[in-house]
Amino acid sequence: MPVTLLGLTFLIFFFTSFLSPYQLVSAYVTSPRELQAGNVDKIIEKYGLNQNFIFRYGRWIDGLVHGNFGWSLSLNEPVSKVLEQRFPATIELTIYAIIPVIFIGIWLGVVAASHHNGVIDQVLRVVALLGYSVPAFVLGLLLLFILYGVLGWLPPGRMDQWAQMIYYAKSFHHYTGIATLDALLNGRIWVFLDILKHLIDPVLTLSFLSIAGLLRITRSSMLESLGQDYIRTARAKGLSERVVVNKHAKRNALIPATTVAGLMFIGMLGGVIITETIFNYPGIGSFAAQAAEQFDYAGVLGVAVVFGIVTVIGNLIVDISYAIIDPRVRVG
């Protein structure tokens, strides 16, 4: 894992070697005052931006380790501050999105498999096909069109104006940065409900594709385990269909589904870039899109490092949980 992380930062930094020293300056400074006339060349000198690649790489890693991600040109703030403020919002969104994916996806997959080739199965096949074929930016905009443009129910953003007044007031304590949790901890139930209301649209957009994916995986692994000999034995013993499906078939079918669910959580982290942009949700995804559009290299690099670290850790957790669920993996 440390090798992957090192390789990852190396890869990101390698891409930046296509940029000129002048373009790279923003990834190093900590305030725009440093960029005043004539100073740019001094900064290039100071950080060795005209030096060789390995030297610059070492300098950059050193900065990252000390929490210096550079200056974001698009938001006029240090990147580390932007990430600190926005990362919890993204985590909040993905956690709310993964919960329906796991429960609904697996449940629908089991239902589809136990009604193989029946009406429900056919309907769910269409649902899965739609999930694969409707891209997030289309689904998100259609939801925004219907639920906000036409019905006026679910506005974009993270919370309404009045909730913001309370949320950003001095008396409001930001314990975790996860807005719904903070609102509850502060005893602000209406703020909590308002934030929840704003989360519905992005969560639907983000989870639909993954629900379809998990539905398909669960269905096919359920069908496989329903065809096994021990299922025939269970049926021959006269067990009820419910027990056969839930106790015998589902247990084994869930192993691949769990791994896929973990991978989907990681896949979702990429999906937040589009979802957050559609709904003006202030997370690191919408920041990434904005930074990329405005040539804010420091911002893009910072976001990429964060996403990379989260992905590597996520993969590790998936591997470990796989070994816990399936004892056969541990033997090797």
Binding site: T4, G271, I273, T277, A289, T311
Partner: protein
Amino acid sequence: MNMERFIKIAKKIARNPTSLAGLLLVLFYVAIAIFAPFLAKPPYPDTPYQMPQSGWSAIPKPPSWQNPFGTTQGQYDLYYGIIWGTRTAFKVGIVVIGLALIIGLIVGTISAYFGGWVDEVLMRITDIFLAFPFLVGVIVIVAILGPGLNHVMWALVIFYWMTYARLIRGSVLEVKENQYVMAGRALGTPGYRIISRHILPNAIFPVIIQSSMDMATIPLMAAALSFLGLGAPVGYASWGQLVSFSRNWIVSSTGGNPFAYWYTIVFPSVAIVLYAMGWNLLGDALRDIFDPRMLI
């Protein structure tokens, strides 16, 4: 693949209604892409991908005789944009998947055939590329190269070849164990000939299925980047851009009828969804044929 086998596959697809629907949808879009110059005649033949504007007013106009699907923001003709956007989608899909497939084939085959430290090194490199969520990696590259459709295609290739490399590696590892490969070796057949004549033809099927599915997702990924303003330049016929134009009109309440600008979102969305559906159904059909073990 000889003709006889091809006909056999086509017959199998035709027998299943959903597979047939997928094939017909794909053929429909192929026809649109091929006949684009006849379906929507470009006003300036040198720059056919530039959508013509019928005026300078910002406000979209509903469908009429002149603009069958209406016009979107900036008076770009939606019909023209969708027809030529089909070509853009195929261009992106074929170029990106083709290049990623070549890299993946080389890396995957070398890795699996030689094994040992070669395999170890190549797979570690693959892991590093896989440590990004796909879209994040693509955005890093596009940010550095600058926006533009060609840059988006490069970025997609750089962060997509790993899927094919892994798929091919796994499938070559399986095929390698067959006795006919050993027989080839015992007869002194050179390595490249064993790979090209004996291993790859038998290991390629999972890749064909995957690339059919990718013909749906990769152009949509490019469309998503156009939607974010990182892809095709303004006015370039691309589905993602048409959808992003509509955002300003369907959300801000125009007072009165909220459906006033429905056509700006509905027509491009239908084009995108049917396109993706066609390729996904075709991919499913191919999987049924090539890999009957997988239960669908």
